[in-house]
Amino acid sequence: MRRFAQLYDALDATTSTNAKVAAMQSYFAEAPPADAAWALFFLTGRRLKRLIAPRLLAVWGCERAQVPGWMAEECFSLVGDLAETVALMMDTARTERRAHAEPPSLASLIEGTLLPLREADEDEKRRVVMTLWDSLERREMYLLAKLLTGEMRVGVSETLGIRALAQHAGLPPATVAHRLMGSWEPSAASFAALVRPGVSDADVSRPYPFFLASPLEEEPEALGDRAGWLAEWKWDGIRAQIVRRGGGAFLWSRGEELITDRFTDLSGVWAALPEGTVLDGEVLAFSGDAPMPFSVLQRRIGRQKLTPRILEEAPAAFMAYDVLEHEGRDDRELPLRERRALLERLVAGRSSRLLLSGSVEAASWEELSVLRRGSRERGVEGLMLKRWDSPYRVGRPRGDWWKWKIDPYSIDAVLVYAQPGHGRRATLMTDLTFAVWSAGELVPVAKAYSGLTDEEIDELDRWIRQNTIERFGPVRAVKPVHVFELHFEGIAESSRHKSGIAVRFPRISRWRTDKTPEQADTIESLRALIKSAGREGRDRG
């Protein structure tokens, strides 16, 4: 695992994408295939299940390093990461700085030592961990702790890991991505299969790069004649492509993840589409004649197994809005007007789960703007504006596709709890909990992590440390003094939250230094938001 630790350091030591890819590429070239397979497993964002509770690991670390628990907590509050705290304590406690024995290889460590721990009792786990610690350097102890607690993450995106492997193998990234789909298990053999030459296997499933819209930052009048634009609702689901080729069907998410198996209830859709078709659209939970809130779909995604109950609660539909390939021909260069006509013919009457994202009819921008205000009641995020004579482009070039979203919800809430963030914010209080008034008490309603400037973060961090009134582990209760304006995209009733309310994608809009906590919102005003949100609020628990 020494080589992997060096790769981890190399990735950690640079912010340059090229340097990261180069580091991974040379790792793949040098490492034995069995190790490379496991490295790839982590580099593509896969994780092992937690083998040991972090708390237990901390206890053993304290024992070995002879550090009392309170002191370990003191250290943790500075470091912000348990695995790192344990590794640093152990390194500091070493009596001599000897050269360490060669540690086990990554594959033998994981397959031979760690995975068997699943069956082991606590004493056995403790014995194995203590023995391993003896042979490891500081960084390796850190990685071991991450592996044991199931938190092993490397600072690269899956796409980057795939790109590095593709360059190593001399293959297009889409080929490698496809070979990694489904039930890929790390092993020397599966790694060899990933990098074998030839691309034909991937051709059949390969999606097209998505065309992404830019946010509309000015009034739509600036786009010119209304007649030059198609307006559609902006659906709030999972952007996806259906690829129907070679007798099979593939559903790709925007993250180039193959999600066909997650939506077995859409099988009727692919079955109904003719061979040689690629559609762009949105996977939605759809009931009757209206989309269900994203939170419903999200719950479904989170489930390991698609039980009949889930399929019934969150039935999927594919809302098609573009056709990219028809009769095996790449039609992306056709103007939208023509692709649209083709799409309407392709979609009509094929399946009850295959829908056409209709054109929103409004004669003028003004009229359209009025319709847009009703977005929430329809369960959509606003409007999409697409130029009728534009081709289907790649990436996010500005000019032809705009998203014209509705304004987010906005409330004023009081900061009540804070805890350190993760990664580069591990030493700062950036995980913040906000509350609103309910019968004279502050009830937490949202957690937010983003939205403040670095200066505000520093200032708030200092204030939090000086105004902590109580501590629960890493969480600090602070004096309820500061008011923040929060924005969020959705609001629903929730039985899982103490306040009975769940908000979606909350973030900090402003630090309202002009407001006192008494001026913050109340739970009643939030309930009113749910009511006005109409169907979106009917979040089924």
Binding site: M71, D81, L88, T92, T427
Partner: protein, 326 residues
């Protein structure tokens, strides 16, 4: 014999202040960093090396009384002497002998060898006032030689870019120049804040890499540049078209520190005592009572008390954000 006062640590038996926070009549200064040697004191007592650095910082007109390492001076009802602290050139511990026995104020110190200054001298005492900047059981320094090798290899790897290494202009910069002189002979470019102090170090006989002041050069590709952290993000930076940035500080032992501050590389090198260093030093003084200041003093005090040592905090309560020097 050392007590808290509004102007910082105070010895009523002198009377004099130690590294005072504001202007006082008489000050004993442990070393030349800005948070220890401040302007405005009527009279200063320090080592000759510290005196040279302080004059450079505060002006030639500063009234300074010199005390060599080990030389004893009677002040009021106590006898004062200064002893190497190993923190930087001229840095000293203050030993005070008087009616209440022997007290030693460590000042900032480290136990690792440093080619720019005399090594820390353990002193027996009754009461030891120790710094606690890094007094947590997660801080332990690798050898400076291995860090210098890391820096050299980073520098060498940046053939087409400048290697911009941020560090404190007084102390850390000169130590890096001296440590690097063991592995290379290449000249290093330095920011204007670094060079005057480097001259004083050279005059004191410290061997360092040759330095070149940043001037009108157009390309710094392949060069190592030392600059104070205050230069970061200023127009001064515009001259470097392609560069990687590094930072040298003990704080970088914590991974999040470097990531949060957005440096490409972090080099863990400190001029303060690490955890094993603090504990070893306390043991070697044989002190009956330990007073801890700066950084993680409260944690150290609690730890010592649990280990049966009479300990208490002293000095300012607020920990400095970054203990590495000025």
């Amino acid at each position: 014999m050392i007590v808290d006062s509004p102007q910082g640590l105070f010895c009523p038996g002198g009377p004099f202040h130690l590294d005072p926070l504001g202007p006082v009549q008489r000050a004993v200064i442990t070393h030349a960093h800005g948070d220890h040697a401040r302007a405005g004191n009527a009279a200063i007592l320090c080592t000759p090396q510290t005196a040279a650095l302080v004059k450079r910082r505060l002006g030639e007109g500063t009234v300074i009384e010199i005390l060599e390492y080990g030389e004893r001076r009677r002040i009021g009802e106590v006898t004062v002497s200064l002893h190497p602290a190993g923190h930087m050139l001229g840095s000293a511990q203050v030993r005070i002998e008087g009616p209440a026995g022997v007290w030693v104020l460590s000042g900032d110190y480290k136990r690792e060898p440093d080619p720019t200054c005399a090594p820390f001298e353990p002193l027996r005492c009754d009461v030891f006032v120790t710094e606690a900047s890094y007094a947590l059981p997660i801080f332990r320094w690798d050898s400076a030689a291995s860090v210098a090798a890391e820096i050299a290899s980073w520098w060498q790897g940046n053939a087409r870019k400048a290697s911009l290494l941020f560090c404190y202009a007084l102390g850390k910069a000169q130590r890096l120049l001296a440590e690097l002189a063991r592995v290379t002979e290449r000249p290093v470019f330095v920011h204007g804040a670094v060079e005057p102090f480097a001259e004083i170090y050279r005059a004191a006989g410290v061997r360092m890499l040759p330095t070149r002041l940043i001037g009108e050069e157009r390309s710094f590709a392949g060069e190592l540049v030392l600059a104070p952290i205050t230069a970061r993000g200023t127009p001064w930076m515009k001259r470097f078209r392609a560069f990687e940035s590094g930072f040298a500080s003990g704080l970088l032992r914590i991974r999040g520190t470097r990531r949060r501050r957005g440096f490409d590389r972090g080099f863990v090198i400190s001029d303060h005592a690490d955890w094993p260093g603090v504990l070893k030093t306390i043991r070697e003084t044989g002190a009956q009572r330990v007073l801890a200041m700066h950084g993680h003093r409260d944690a150290l005090v609690r730890w010592l008390r649990e280990a049966g040592v009479d300990a208490a905090p002293i000095g300012l309560a607020a920990p400095p954000l970054d203990p590495e020097g000025d």
